[in-house]
């Protein structure tokens, strides 16, 4: 497998859970739990891109936020470069954030509308007291803006004066400022126009090559993911159902959900007619996940065990993990 076998992972997440309480009635008594993330484990090597894909409600965004500690997980371990993030006091966590940055989906909501763009990008330097003085910091800002493809002359403008793609570049510049080793990018291109989306994807690819940043790239668009990922993890209702290297997951998807997801992507080529297994029904609510395999209610190939026994995530070929009763263990030598 590429990049993750040898050496210490940069990020290692073990059995991460995040449950949100459902409150009812006048006294806001807790009447149940939404199990948004329910036992997620993953690793990212330095300089690697792990794509976390899934549909709405799969828990992919919550997973990203727990790793950043923008949400406190219910349980689990998040180890970054040997340090357990969940046990860090607030101050130490703040220092750690220099190394773990975030780019949000919505370039309209994630930039303070009252701050000039230069100030937004300079803020990380100000907070972490980087650079000898204001002038040095401003020079660093100019270099950053240039690097993400923006004219440093525009630093005195406000976010609303920029287009969606330009704003996402500003968000990337801010994330890049402190030379992080990991960027959690939560659907960073899904709100952009097609022609601009390609520019921002290219920027992510180029920056990784230049600075050797690892990405946790959260997305729902598998065609985008295929461009940028080294490995792909597929989530369904709070759990990872399949992980494999990019080529492996696109060439040889094993979990019926991954297959359905791949088949569902409309192909921009009318000359290529296609076979498609259309999934029936909606994903169930994460407040009441089905027993056994969570996908069995929509699965076209469910067997007798599926509604009864939860399949564990098993390594079926080196680096290829899947949680499905149809693939009950190593396929080597079978």
């Amino acid at each position: 497998m590429s990049a993750t076998g040898a050496g210490r992972p940069l990020l290692e997440v073990t059995d991460l859970k995040k449950y949100f309480p459902i409150r009812r009635g006048v006294f806001s008594r807790i009447s149940g739990w939404v199990r948004a993330v329910d036992g997620v484990s993953l690793r990212i090597a330095p300089g690697e891109t792990l794509a976390l894909v899934g549909e709405s409600g799969s828990g992919k965004t919550t997973t990203g936020r727990c790793i950043l500690r923008l949400l406190e997980p219910t349980s689990g371990r998040v180890v970054f470069d040997g340090t357990d993030l969940l046990s860090l006091p607030a101050r130490a966590m703040r220092r750690m954030r220099r190394q773990i940055q975030v780019v949000f989906q919505d370039p309209y909501g994630s930039l303070n509308p009252r701050m000039r763009v230069g100030t937004i990008v300079r803020e990380p330097f100000d907070i972490h007291r980087i650079g000898a003085n204001r002038r040095e910091r401003d020079e660093m800002v100019a270099a950053l803006l240039r690097r993400v493809g923006l004219d440093p002359g525009m630093r005195d403008r406000y976010p609303h004066e920029f287009s969606g793609g330009q704003r996402q570049r500003i968000g990337v510049a801010r994330a890049l400022a402190l030379r992080p080793r990991l960027i959690v990018a939560d659907e960073p291109v899904s709100s952009l126009d097609v022609s601009v989306q390609a520019q921002v994807i290219n920027l992510f690819i180029d920056l990784q090559e230049e600075f050797r940043i690892a990405y946790l790239f959260i997305a729902h668009d598998l065609a985008v993911v295929e461009r940028i990922a080294d490995r792909v993890a597929v989530m369904y209702l709070g759990q990872i159902v399949e992980v494999a290297a990019r080529g492996e997951i696109f060439r040889n998807p094993l979990h019926p959900y991954t297959r359905a997801l791949l088949q569902a992507i409309p192909i921009p080529d009318p000359a290529r007619a296609r076979e498609r297994q259309v999934l029936r029904g909606d994903p169930p609510s994460p407040a009441q996940p089905p027993p056994g395999c969570r996908f069995h209610t929509r699965c076209p190939s469910a067997v007798e065990a599926c509604p009864r026994i939860e399949p564990p995530l098993l390594e079926v070929t080196p680096g290829h993990w899947v949680a499905c009763h149809l693939h009950p263990g190593p396929e080597v030598g079978r």
Binding site: S2, E55, S56, S163, G165, Q166, D193, V194, S195, V196, Q197, A198, Q199, I201, N202, I205, D206, Q208, E209, H220, D221, L222, A223, V224, E226, R227, I228, A245, R246, G247, F250, A260, L261, L262, Q263, A264, I265, P266, I267, P268, D269, P270, A271, R276, V278, L279, R280, G281, D282, P283
Partner: protein, 335 residues
Amino acid sequence: MPRILEVTDLSTHFTTPEGEVRAVDRVSFHVDEGQTLGLVGESGCGKSVLALSLLRLVPPPGRIVSGRIVYKGGDLMALPERGIRRVRGREIALIFQEPSTALNPVFTVGYQIAEGLIVHKMMKKKEALREAARLMEVVRIPDPGRRVRDYPHQMSGGMRQRVMIAMALACRPSLLVADEPTTALDVTIQAEILDLLRNLKRDFRLSLILISHNLGVIAETADRIAVMYAGRIVEEAGANDLFARPKHPYTAGLIRSIPRLGDAGPEGGDRKKRLAAIEGTVPDLLRLPPGCAFQPRCPDVMRECREHVPGLRPLGDSSDTVACFKHHDPEGRPR
């Protein structure tokens, strides 16, 4: 094939404090009976305003300033308000992107589907509700007998979009205009809705205008495709032809810039494969560049592109059209 809709030189403008916005600018296209026209474009290109214009539903300060909308041989622009009201829903129905805002939260979905039947077809309420349940079955909502009494908030996004489609089908329209009908939905649900639309088109002998920014959705659904940029149609052609041999540099750039599965290059290579992006951004309709709106981003720009606006002209003797000086000179003569 007979034409169900022929739009000629349609313009819809919005008067704003900053100036006149030409959201739809001299747009011409047609839809043949039983066919699907895919209308593709990026945000702000005017495709939604065009959809509203077809039914004369443009909200102020917008107004249709010129053009003809000939539906089944009659010009909708010439109809009095009462006449166009009879066309809406009964002849041409609209489906919007956001089913949660297009549905009324205080009425059951069954009643909302039945409402059109009560108003347009003079059905009794009970009969109309029975028909509503039948329509819900047609759009594959499970357990329709029970779910007619559901309120919109009790349904998922995919189910709400089915309700919208059932509402649109209620009065048996001949033409369905679907504006980004799957954009708010997950891919697996999107695949189901597109499959449903294809089947309904066949079973109800519908003609369809499908509006989307997603070239994949368009490619899988449309017979013909019209590409919009900055308020204008820049190219129209058969779906296969448009993807295989795009004539307008914008169409070509758009097709090249979308990532497609299986095209990401070898695994484990030193470099990830970059995408062929179109440089620059979509122009602001208030500050359009001189000449062709695409010229600042165009790789093939020529001198006349900055001086004249290219008109939409036929290519040879086909019904395909393109608005680009690579194919016609400023006088409209083929090159």
